[in-house]
């Protein structure tokens, strides 16, 4: 008898992404590890084949149902590819036998690019860590063994921690957007600033702020400078800040489990000093990063998914409607986004073999500039992903850091 293929529902956040994916809005983000030696692609392929069994929820193909997409387990194996295109490019993971992620290599760098439909930054980090461990294991460097995947890792944590009868969170209004000209399709520019962690942390401490709060304040201040120096029509500046909910709820899911909080400053009220911005963000975080506030958002999202009216809309109609709805209720209301994946640690045995880890945010037409930050060893890597050739925002941001006497090294994929 033919064995039944396992299948998974997309998680609450992931359900949106296949419907809004286009050649510009790839919804693909990248995590990459730079080693000291060139990558052996054959060993990398074997490593990938070995570890994919530990991530059964990633060894899937996306399929179309009548009402929703779903993931179906596949017996095929993903292939590692040599990097040739711009980062975070679109992937046709709706096609037959396509995986919703890719593993790339170039010189001494291994990159994993995930569609957001399948996982968030935490899932991708765990996958990359396992891949590195297995890669070095195969090269004869003894590292930790893999843990056996638990059922909990494949759960939709949004549904698990959904609380009924909670009022909806307040609605956002249209936010300020960068008025830059879009680049050609198929191009995505990255500017990464490499900053010593200890100096950045001590500067943040001077302002009594955490690293995320400090970077967020710097970003707000950058946008304030940009708006004020160009006399743009003022609208509130809203920054989308995804929060990893695994730190609030006891979940180990490897699928999406984040909620975006949206600090906003209305510069129509006047010019804010940097200290005022930091104060606002610190207080905002204290108000929002708690279960009661987050429950509102989880409830709002899950309730919409559970609605019988939404469930009954055929998939092809959902695909037609979703990009407009997402633009109206999603990115239209944010100026930009900043994702901080935190400090990444690798097993001691391989830490000295990996020079750096970087994170690139997914490109989006609604927010043409987004920021991804990640810490590894002594540095923090701040990457601006941009769909425009203009570098004004990056320039103001990094110059501000330099003015605080913090050293910055800049790298880019721009020609």
């Amino acid at each position: 008898m033919k064995q039944k293929k396992e299948w998974y529902r997309l998680d609450n956040a992931g359900k949106l992404y296949p419907s809004i994916t286009s050649t510009r809005v790839s919804t693909v983000f990248r995590l990459s590890a730079t080693l000291y030696n060139n990558i052996d692609s054959k060993v990398l392929q074997i490593a990938l084949n070995n570890i994919i069994e530990y991530f059964p929820y990633f060894k899937v193909n996306l399929k179309r149902g009548l009402f929703w997409y779903y993931f179906e387990h596949t017996e095929k194996y993903p292939k590692v590819q040599k990097e040739t295109y711009y980062p975070c490019m679109f992937m046709f993971y709706k096609n037959k036998n396509s995986f919703p992620f890719r593993v790339l290599y170039y010189n001494n760098r291994i990159s994993v690019e995930f569609s957001h439909s399948i996982t968030d930054g935490v899932g991708a980090i765990n996958f990359l860590k396992s891949l590195l461990v297995e890669y070095f294991n195969l090269l004869g460097i003894n590292t930790d063994s893999h843990k056996i995947p638990s059922k909990e890792e494949a759960e939709d944590a949004f549904k698990k921690y959904y609380v009924k009868n909670v009022p909806n969170p307040p609605k956002l209004k249209k936010a300020f957007h960068f008025p830059f000209k879009l680049n050609s399709k198929g191009e995505y520019y990255i500017i990464t600033g490499i900053i010593p962690m200890d100096i950045l942390l001590s500067t943040a401490k001077k302002y009594n702020a955490s690293l995320t709060q400090f970077l967020l304040a710097l970003y707000f201040d950058t946008i304030q400078d940009f708006i004020k120096s160009n006399n743009f029509k003022l609208l509130p500046v809203v920054i989308n800040l995804p929060v990893n909910l695994r730190s609030i709820y006891p979940s180990n899911t490897m699928r999406n489990f984040f909620i975006s909080v949206t600090p906003q400053i209305d510069f129509r009220l006047g010019t804010y000093s940097f200290e005022e911005i930091v104060n606002y963000i610190r207080n905002y975080m204290q108000l929002t990063l708690n279960k009661k506030y987050i429950n509102q958002h989880i409830h709002h999202n899950v309730k919409r998914e559970k609605s019988i009216f939404i469930r009954l809309i055929p998939l092809f109609l959902k695909n037609l409607m979703m990009p407009t709805i997402y633009s109206k209720y999603g990115e239209r209301n944010y100026t930009t986004g900043i994702s901080n994946l935190g400090l990444i640690t690798l097993p001691k045995s391989i830490e000295d073999l990996v020079e750096r880890i970087e994170f690139y945010p997914p490109p989006s037409i609604g927010n043409i500039i987004k920021v991804g930050t990640i810490g590894y060893k002594d540095n923090i890597y701040i990457s601006f992903g941009s769909l425009t050739k203009t570098t004004t925002i990056e320039k103001i941001f990094f110059r501000k850091i330099r003015k605080m006497n913090i050293p910055v090294k800049i790298e880019t994929n721009r020609e």
């Binding site: 050649t23 046709f92 001494n108 050609s184 198929g186 110059r399 800049i410 790298e411 020609e415």
Partner: protein, 243 residues
């Protein structure tokens, strides 16, 4: 390590311009003689390659369908005693559809040539439909002038749009559309009147023209701003501040 003198940020050796401000960076030799490993490949643009592949697939599939449709129509014509006019109309339309698909899929890269292509295909389509019964009745008197008029107005619209697309498209697109439609309606009535009565007396198109041109002029003058005296008068009379 080389630095950008303007931004103060460190950059890699061999970088000629600052990635942030494009300021030229002095060429400093690497003291440690490290071998430079490029961090990114010289990226290829995935978009055009992928889109061309998809486009080819669509065009190939549709071409087969159209070829089958023409074959079926010819077969029906030879087997069944169908009305030859109906079959000929269908064959001409299907063949024209194939040319339209070719143009709409963007195989002609220039927009101006694409529009010209659409015009030429439409000319042949109307000529073919007119000539099905063996005589040319209305092609030269109606179809050709209307097509040339429509093409001229579309080219005018594009010319004006390209001149102002970086200014404020939300004002210019409706304004130019209104101007285009008003000119088209006047032109259409002229052609119809002339062919029917051999004289021109405008009626309905004049109403369309006056209304739409007024709106367009209002929108454009709002953008270019009115003289201060008129602005002041509007403010005083209406107690509003529009500008």
């Amino acid at each position: 390590m080389p630095y950008c003198p303007k931004c103060g940020v460190e950059v890699d050796y061999k970088i000629t311009n600052c990635p942030l401000c494009t300021f030229p960076i002095p060429d400093i030799p690497d003291e440690n003689n490290n071998i430079k490993v490029s961090k990114f490949p010289r990226p290829e643009n995935k978009y055009y390659e992928t889109i061309l592949k998809i486009k080819n697939q669509i065009f190939f599939t549709l071409s087969i369908l159209i070829f089958c449709a023409v074959l079926i129509l010819i077969t029906i014509n030879s087997i069944i005693d169908a009305h030859p006019l109906a079959i000929n109309y269908s064959i001409i339309s299907v063949v024209a559809a194939w040319f339209y698909i070719f143009i709409f899929l963007g195989y002609i890269s220039s927009l101006y040539y694409s529009i010209l292509g659409i015009g030429i295909v439409t000319m042949f389509l109307t000529l073919g439909i007119d000539y099905v019964d063996g005589r040319i009745n209305w092609f030269f008197s109606y179809a050709l002038p209307v097509i040339i008029l429509a093409l001229a107005i579309i080219y005018l619209f594009l010319y004006l749009y390209n001149r102002s697309k970086f200014l404020n498209k939300f004002i210019f697109i409706p304004s130019y559309l209104f101007i285009g439609i008003s000119l088209l309606s006047v032109g259409l009535e002229c052609i119809l009147d002339y062919q029917a009565k051999k004289s021109i007396s405008l009626s309905w198109s004049l109403i369309v023209f006056i209304v739409l041109i007024s709106i367009a002029v209002l929108l454009i003058s709002l953008y270019y701003k009115l003289p201060d005296i008129i602005k002041e008068k509007i403010k005083r009379k209406l107690h509003i501040s529009l500008f």
